[in-house]
Every structure is written in C-alpha cells, then in structure tokens.
C-alpha cells in the first residue's frame, strides 16, 4: 500500500479551497472536520440545515445547550452575526443556490458527477436527511473521501452501483491520494501525492483519469 493522506489531511486540503466570506455547509461526520482548518485570515460562514448560519465551535463538555445543535445533533455555539431561521428558509438557502460550497462524504462518485452517499442498499432502515438537498444548489459540491474502500475497491467509478443521492452534482473530489475535478463527464486529475505515479493512481480509480498539462503535487502538512 502506498502512502496516503489521513482524514484530517484530506479535510485540511479541502479547507484550503474555501474562500474568505464563503458560505459553507459541511456534511455530517467526516466533513465537519473541514471547519478546523480555515486558512488564517479567511472567515467562512457555516450553515447547518437545522437553521443556523454563522455558528461557532463546539462548547466545552458540560456546557452544551441542546437547543443549539448542528445537523449532526452535536452542540455548537453562537458568534457575533449568527442568525436562526426555520427549516424551509434553511433549505431555501441550499436549494436556491446561496451556498458557495457543500462538502460531503461519499460511498461512490461517478465520472458523470453522480454521487452515492446515503444508502448502501435495501437492507436495514433507510435514512436520507438533507443529503439529497445539499447536492443541489451549492455553487460547488465537493466530496472528501478515501480514494478506495477498505477492501481496496475504487470509490471513483464510471457509474455508481449504489443508490444515487444526486445526478451530475459533484464538481471536485478530495481523496486520500489526489484532487480530481469532474468536468464534462470526465475525471480530471489536478493534484496527486508526489510519491504516486499516474499509472498507480489510475489502477486505483474506476474510471479514466484525464491528464491535463499541469498536475500539481498534493502536499499537505503533518497534522
């Protein structure tokens, strides 16, 4: 197995692309980690589906206000400039194209930009939450993910095999090995770990990687 980025490092890399003043929704779980790595001097404003814009970090343990939680049902805090609103206004922000970036996890991403991240199949209790809404409306829908599954199977594929969350919605994927854009139904390789050859990366990817003139080294600090 080759070197790969930790989850923290993937989150760090995704955070570097968030502009100052961007409105950002981070999916439940792993994507929430992105908030920790805002570059100095940049102030992103975080949106949560359950009706808060501009919330702050988690409070110290024991000081939680359970009326002040994020979509992952974790306690957060207010900051100067926070606003509360109801669920319909919250999803108006999402669906209406007002978010600059949504960063989500994935089971599979297809070269078409299709995303599968809500269901691993017909077994058990299905639950979708806000995933199907978040993939529509944000100006950029980015995915952060391991490049391959625990079994070593590609998560970047030609066509998703799992139930779709959205069609043609993903614009960029940050993986443990590379940064890949989805453009005109193709994966375009933008950055890769310097220790990894293009052909090695291609073998771990389920669809063809388009190679532009410039492919940047994916360099991330120790975290």
């Amino acid at each position: 197995m080759t070197d790969r980025l930790t989850s923290t490092q993937i989150a760090w890399r995704a955070a570097q692309d968030i502009a100052d003043g961007a409105y950002v929704n981070l999916g439940i779980g792993f994507p929430e980690m992105v908030a920790r790595f805002q570059p100095p001097g940049r102030e992103a404003i975080f949106h949560t589906e359950n009706g808060i814009l501009g919330f702050g970090e988690a409070p110290p343990a024991g000081e939680e206000d359970w009326d002040l939680i994020n979509a992952g049902k974790k306690a957060v805090t207010v900051k100067p400039g926070t606003a509360f609103f109801h669920h319909a206004d919250s999803f108006a922000m999402v669906r209406g194209g007002h978010l600059d970036v949504a960063i989500l996890g994935a089971y599979e991403v297809a070269e078409t930009g299709d995303l599968a991240n809500w269901s691993t199949g017909p077994k058990g209790v299905p639950a979708v939450g806000g995933a199907m809404d978040l993939v529509h409306g944000a100006k950029r829908v980015a995915v952060i993910t391991e490049h391959v599954t625990k079994d070593g199977k590609p998560k970047l594929v030609k066509r998703c095999s799992l139930p779709l969350t959205g069609v043609g919605c993903v614009t960029r994927v940050y993986t443990s090995l590379a940064v890949i854009d989805v453009e005109k139904g193709r994966f375009v390789l933008r950055e890769k770990l310097p220790s990894l050859s293009v052909s090695e990366l291609q073998t771990m990817t389920g669809a063809e990687l388009v190679l532009p003139e410039t492919i940047t080294d994916l360099i991330v600090p120790e975290l």
């Binding site: 939680i69 199907m132 809404d133």
Partner: protein
C-alpha cells in the same frame, strides 16, 4: 380571545384515532416532549389515540418522546427524513418487524412540503431527489433545461409544537435552533397546539420578532421547565417511568 389551555392533558384531548399529527423538533431540539407524553398518558388511560400518522424529521431516540409514542404502538406510519439516532432501537425494531410504515422524504423536501401545506400550494417542483430512488413514481418536468421532481403539499390534522414564549393570541418565539420545523408545522395543521415555557401578555413579544403569528396557533399550554430529550436520554429515562 384567549387560546391558552390549562393542562397538557386537555391540550391533546381531541386528537382522534388515525389522525395525521405533525410533531415539531429536530432530534430532541424543539421537540414538545410534554405534549407527546400527555398523548401517551391518554392512550394508556383510554386506548386512544392509536393508528396515528406522525410527521417528524426523525424517528425518536431512546425511550422518551416520539420514541416512547412509537414504543406504545400508537404510530401506524411515520413520515420523516432521518430515522436514525444515537439509539433508534424502538423505531428500528418495529420497522424491521413490519409493524410501522415509513415514508422517507429528503429533509428539504419535507420542510417545503409542510410549508406548501400551510401556504395553500398543492404541489411544487424541486431538483432534490431527481434521478434517485426517492423520486420513483413522481412526475418529472424540465424547466429551463433542467429536470425537477414534483412534490405534493403535506398537511396535518394536528401539530404538536414547542416554543419558548407565547402570548394568549398565539404569537410565538422559539429558542435558537429549536425553531427548526416548528413554525412550518404550525402553518400546516388544522389545529396547532403549542407548549411554551412561558405564556406572556400580548405586547410582551416585539411585533418585529414574532416568528409564528397567532393565526397559525389554535391552543397553547405552559410547560414552565420542559425536559430536553438529549438530557433525558443521557440519564437513561423511559416514559412512562419504570420504577428504578
């Protein structure tokens, strides 16, 4: 005009068998636990109401509130977006046993369908769920070259919601993110019953800050120190209580 009600028991007394009941809250935040427990009390005393269709974002957590309502077998069908939680055992078991029906709706579509019900909009188009399993059987139409799914309004016979303060006319304000679905459900139900931490005089709420105007509220009852679902569950609570 005075919409205040003396007790939570009276507040839920009229909900019949088979009613569609919207219950506010996102997880435990903004969940009207005392109203839900009053409904359970009534069921335990009278056998009614039963066969309810409940609309809530979730499916309950632990053994209090909505989870307890489901545990009593009072719920026939649940309309929700995310029937998972730290401890979703009650719903999961009934669902896997085929004892409860589930209509899964994307969260934003759920919110918009409820708002549409309240706003007299029988159907609308949304990009959400296009091309997915949750759009199956729904009409699709293109607008400006992009496909959208048609969704219907969602209305209820009753809404049980939770607010921070309310006046006797039913004007409400909420607490932080406990607002969530509560103001929307207030619009979409024929009868909206609210539990508030404090009933205040008309005029005590700044008219600029009213979130739910009284026209959307049919009854309100004061529950001065409402329980928080998260805290109940961390303490391992069950409703009704079981002798320790």
């Amino acid at each position: 005009m005075d919409k205040t009600l003396p007790t939570v028991a009276q507040a839920v007394a009229e909900i019949p068998d088979g009613a569609v009941v919207m219950i506010g809250g996102f997880g435990g935040s903004g969940a009207p636990i005392e109203l839900v427990h009053a409904l359970i009390d009534r069921f335990l005393a009278t056998g009614h109401p039963r066969a309810l269709t409940v609309v809530n974002n979730n499916a309950g957590n632990g053994h209090v509130g909505l989870a307890a309502l489901i545990e009593q077998g009072m719920v026939k069908k649940l309309v929700c977006s995310f029937p998972r939680s730290a401890d979703p055992r009650v719903f999961t078991e009934k669902f896997l046993a085929g004892e409860i029906e589930l209509e899964l709706v994307p969260q934003g579509t759920l919110a918009e369908r409820i708002r549409a019900g309240g706003a007299g909009i029988p159907a609308f188009y949304t990009p959400t769920s296009y091309g997915t399993d949750l759009a199956k059987g729904k009409p699709v139409e293109e607008f400006d070259g992009r496909p959208y799914v048609r969704e219907r309004w969602l209305k209820a016979d009753f809404a049980l919601i939770k607010a921070l303060k309310g006046d006797r006319l039913g004007n409400l304000v909420f607490n932080k993110a406990a607002r969530n679905f509560n103001p929307l459900m207030a619009m979409a139900a024929a009868k909206t019953i609210v539990q508030v931490s404090a009933i205040v005089e008309p005029g005590a709420i700044d008219p600029e800050s009213v979130v739910t105007p009284g026209i959307f509220v049919q009854g309100l009852v004061e529950v001065a120190a409402p329980a928080q679902e998260e805290e109940l569950n961390r303490a391992g609570a069950r409703y009704p209580e079981i002798a320790a």
